[in-house]
């Protein structure tokens, strides 16, 4: 048996244990606080609203747009797009948005095309101007084209050649 004087001190009376325990608690607390502050915040999806269509782009403007759309000429269509973007509320006219979508597709701008496509989806009516002919891409058609642009952007590879080394080979 131990006498009182010989008995080992309880663990909780040992100073180094207490200090270690405090440090552990502090570290754990700090880690928890950090996790809490840095945890991913839930995002609230943008509400889907119906866009009330209004007539903004004129028949004349749409007639001008139809030709470069059919000719696949982004350079020609860019002039009409400039005019459309100057019109107030042009985003409220599915005809304007359709031309913007076609221009975005034509110039390979997948992000812009996606934006216009999403906008087209939420119009209450999509009565396209009859100047748009003979084909008006459906939402499905546009979706397919946008997806292709997005896939293309993901699959694009760049040439990884050290041109500085090649330069050295060509220098006397």
């Amino acid at each position: 048996m131990f006498s009182v004087a010989e008995r080992p001190r309880p663990w909780y009376r040992r100073k180094k244990y207490i200090i270690s325990l405090v440090v552990i608690l502090l570290v754990a607390g700090a880690a928890g606080a950090a996790w809490y502050l840095l945890r991913p915040q839930p995002t609230t999806p943008a509400p889907i609203t119906v866009i009330t269509a209004r007539a903004v782009c004129s028949d004349e403007l749409m007639a001008r747009a139809n030709s470069p759309i059919n000719d696949n000429s982004g350079s020609a269509l860019s002039l009409i797009v400039d005019d459309i973007k100057k019109l107030p509320n042009h985003n409220d006219d599915p005809n304007c948005v359709y031309v913007l979508a076609r221009f975005a597709l034509m110039t390979g701008d997948g992000a812009a095309a996606r934006t216009q496509l999403e906008r087209l989806k939420y119009f209450d009516v999509r009565n396209y101007n009859r100047a748009l002919q003979p084909v008006v891409m459906s939402l499905e058609d546009i979706e397919n084209a946008v997806v292709v642009l997005e896939k293309r952007a993901q699959s694009m590879k760049k040439v990884m050649i050290d041109y500085n080394e090649i330069d050295k080979a060509g220098q006397p």
């Binding site: 350079s75 896939k151 041109y163 060509g170």
Partner: protein
């Protein structure tokens, strides 16, 4: 192609493995116009705008105002994971065979199965590599990145391709070292396909070669497109296709002369190059790249439909409202043709008439070369005519729009069972259609009688059972015929009491009881609107077979004297009661429990009585009471434990009536004569099948059950006679 127009440059390819440029004279001065770049670049000039903008950004971001004295050339050359410096951009892509610009989806006619494509390649020189050379061939090494960034020609607008000649070949400052990229295309596989059917293939057989070489007058170095064809076993649909191309590329640098040329494996491995000699393909790695196209299928997509807005069961003279509609589901707005191949679109509504005996199964959508009235599939009609024509001369249909017209018709005076059918037809509904017409599913109305039954002078009860019988308790109600706008129908003059449904049946002598169920007492669970009834299914009505048994069983079994005197008769077999005029003061009981009593002629009493005691009263107790079709009046109290049938010829149960429907139709026995029953009627079932007057909207009901006062007052006057007694009496509120 422009490549074939150039003179002076001869590229010898021996077995696809040796490249030797033996003549490097300048090409003819053919400059890529904006239109040509628009036609052949992947996304037209927009691609060059994107690339040159990329080069400018790299030029400015990778160094702080460097010049060629320090590291500007290194910055221009920079190639990293996310950046390509500011010298060149090389790319290949798949497009339609018609042009390299593939920014707009490839549009094909419906029915297309084969898609001609091509692999395009281009090397684009960014602004630092083209004239003017600010460094003047490196004699001015103080030119900075900022100076180049603010000097033209940068391709900054899709309206201008900013064509420019490359600076002289070199390996420093603004001089491009590259002179060619030579591609060995080894194979094309399909990695994604939502446009073609399963089993789609390409006809690409490698290796094929594509040379992209320095052009002295252009910053756009296009290769010779390599064609191949995508073939689907089924017609292409709107969708996209992904291709994976395996290839090797050898780049040539520093000189058009092989002796001074450096050739490098652009597809790796790193460092493999040759100086002054041909680099064999075998020394280069195979790389892959994925290419994507989307397909738009041209389609007219005209879908005709016919909607009948009014009742489908009608009477002659009724108005029919129709909506012939053509819905545009395709993506082509114009280009339609009529059946005669002239511009425009045929669109019409046709009307067919089928006789009652026809066994027409209205067909669904039909694509035919004939207009509706000339289409054999609609055979057996007696007449057909175009009811309305909506031909569109301009042949324009906006996409995703339903074009609806309003049409009207009046039901002709034709026999019940006649069907009138309507078909909306549109011409050339599909761009690939081999037929001139598309006919909508046929929509029909049928001419039918709506015979009415009236109960006047008293209430009517449906449901429950006859007390003491083994018949199950019934949940029954009152079901009338559709009357629609004809303004007449079945009704009870006073109250209707039912354990089941009361539908299309008026009460309290009113026709507007749908909204206000006056004097309707039905169980709430059966018709919530017609509340106030809460009858149990154990409800019973007095069994007069039992109540009159003493008298009946003691009656005469010889019915020969029926009608001539007051007498009780007891029938031990089925009997037929002939026509009889009972006059006044007679009390007659025909007691035929479990038997069928057929009434073959009118049985009448005289209403001209001095007192109710003098009123004649005929009581018939039977298993079934069947009234022949020719009978128009029966003045009697009818009690049948099984069935009371008002037109015996049609049958005594629902199945029999359905089998004998012809008797209810025009010319049928049950359609020619109305029936008036003066007296109460109690039956285990009541089959009222007369249809007289059911076609003409103003005629009286086919059957009337009229509870005249003498029916229930006469027993009071002769209470000791043992005739039927009033089961119960309830004072009713006055009618509204």
């Amino acid at each position: 192609m422009r490549m074939f127009l150039r003179r002076g440059t001869i590229i010898a390819v021996v077995l696809g493995t040796i490249i030797s440029v033996v003549n490097a004279s300048l090409a003819a001065a053919i400059v890529d116009s904006t239109a040509n770049v628009e036609l052949n670049m992947r996304d037209g000039v927009a691609t060059a705008v994107s690339w040159d903008n990329w080069c400018k950004s790299n030029l400015l971001s990778l160094g702080s105002a460097p010049n060629f004295t320090n590291n500007l050339r290194t910055i221009i050359n920079y190639t990293g994971t996310y950046s390509e410096g500011a010298a060149y951009r090389q790319e290949s892509w798949v497009s339609s065979s018609a042009r390299g610009n593939t920014s707009t989806p490839i549009t094909v006619p419906a029915g297309t199965t084969s898609l001609p494509l091509r692999i395009n390649t281009v090397t684009f020189l960014c602004r630092p590599m083209v004239q003017p050379d600010l460094s003047s061939g490196c004699t001015n090494r103080s030119v900075t990145a900022g100076m180049i960034a603010t000097s033209e020609p940068w391709v900054s607008s899709v309206a201008n391709a900013e064509e420019a000649a490359p600076n002289p070949i070199g390996s420093s400052c603004q001089r491009p070292a590259k002179v060619f990229d030579y591609n060995q295309l080894l194979g094309v596989s399909i990695i994604y396909n939502t446009a073609g059917g399963a089993g789609s293939t390409t006809n690409f057989v490698g290796p094929k070669y594509d040379m992209v070489e320095r052009e002295e007058d252009s910053r756009y170095w296009f290769g010779t497109p390599v064609p191949f064809t995508f073939t689907s076993p089924t017609a292409l649909t709107a969708g996209s296709i992904g291709f994976r191309v395996s290839y090797k590329t050898i780049g040539g640098f520093h000189s058009l002369n092989l002796a001074n040329q450096t050739q490098v494996c652009m597809t790796g491995p790193a460092g493999v190059n040759s100086s002054g000699s041909v680099l064999p393909w075998s020394s280069c790695n195979i790389a892959t790249n994925d290419y994507w196209i989307s397909v738009v299928v041209q389609s007219y997509g005209l879908e005709p439909t016919t909607t009948i807005n009014t009742a489908l069961v009608v009477k002659p003279g009724a108005s029919v409202s129709l909506t012939p509609t053509v819905t545009k589901s395709g993506n082509m707005t114009t280009g339609f043709q009529k059946a005669d191949n002239t511009p425009g679109t045929n669109w019409q509504l046709s009307k067919f008439i089928y006789p009652p005996s026809s066994t027409l199964m209205p067909p669904g959508v039909l694509s035919k070369n004939t207009a509706a009235c000339a289409t054999p599939d609609y055979a057996s009609f007696t007449s057909c005519a175009v009811l309305a024509n909506y031909d569109k001369a301009d042949g324009y249909f906006a996409i995703a729009k339903a074009y609806a017209e309003a049409a009207a018709d009046v039901v002709p005076s034709l026999p019940p069972g006649t069907r009138i059918c309507y078909v909306t037809s549109v011409g050339k509904s599909s761009i690939s259609s081999a037929t001139a017409w598309k006919h909508a599913p046929m929509r029909c109305i049928v001419i039918a009688g709506s015979p009415a039954m009236a109960i006047v002078g008293g209430d009517a009860w449906a449901g429950g059972a006859i007390a003491g019988t083994a018949a199950p308790q019934q949940i029954s109600g009152f079901l009338g015929s559709d009357t629609f706008s004809s303004g007449f129908g079945s009704f009870g003059e006073y109250g209707l009491l039912a354990t089941g449904l009361i539908d299309k049946y008026a009460s309290a002598g009113r026709m507007d009881t749908i909204a206000q169920p006056y004097l309707m007492f039905a169980n709430p669970s059966s018709i919530p609107l017609r509340t106030a009834g809460s009858f149990t299914t154990t409800h019973t009505i007095t069994n007069h077979q039992t109540a009159l048994a003493t008298r009946g069983l003691a009656g005469s079994t010889n019915l020969a004297s029926f009608g001539s005197t007051s007498k009780d008769y007891y029938a031990t077999s089925d009997v037929t009661l002939p026509a009889a005029a009972l006059g006044t003061g007679k009390r007659i009981l025909v007691y035929a429990p479990g038997r069928t009593v057929t009434i073959s002629g009118n049985i009448t009493t005289s209403p001209a009585v001095g007192s109710f005691a003098n009123a004649s009263l005929l009581t018939i107790v039977a298993g079934t009471i069947a009234i022949n079709a020719n009978v128009s009046q029966v003045d009697a109290l009818l009690f049948a434990t099984n069935t009371i049938a008002t037109c015996r010829e049609a049958g005594l149960n629902t199945a029999a009536v359905n089998a004998n429907k012809a008797l209810l139709m025009a010319g049928g026995a049950c359609r020619t004569q109305r029936l008036l029953v003066n007296g109460a009627a109690v039956g285990g079932g009541v089959i009222v099948t007369r249809t007289a007057g059911g076609i003409d909207s103003t005629e009286a009901p086919a059957e009337q059950f009229r509870l005249r006062p003498e029916v229930f007052l006469a027993p009071y006057e002769s209470a000791t006679s043992g005739n039927l007694t009033t089961d119960s009496e309830v004072e009713l509120p006055p009618r509204n």
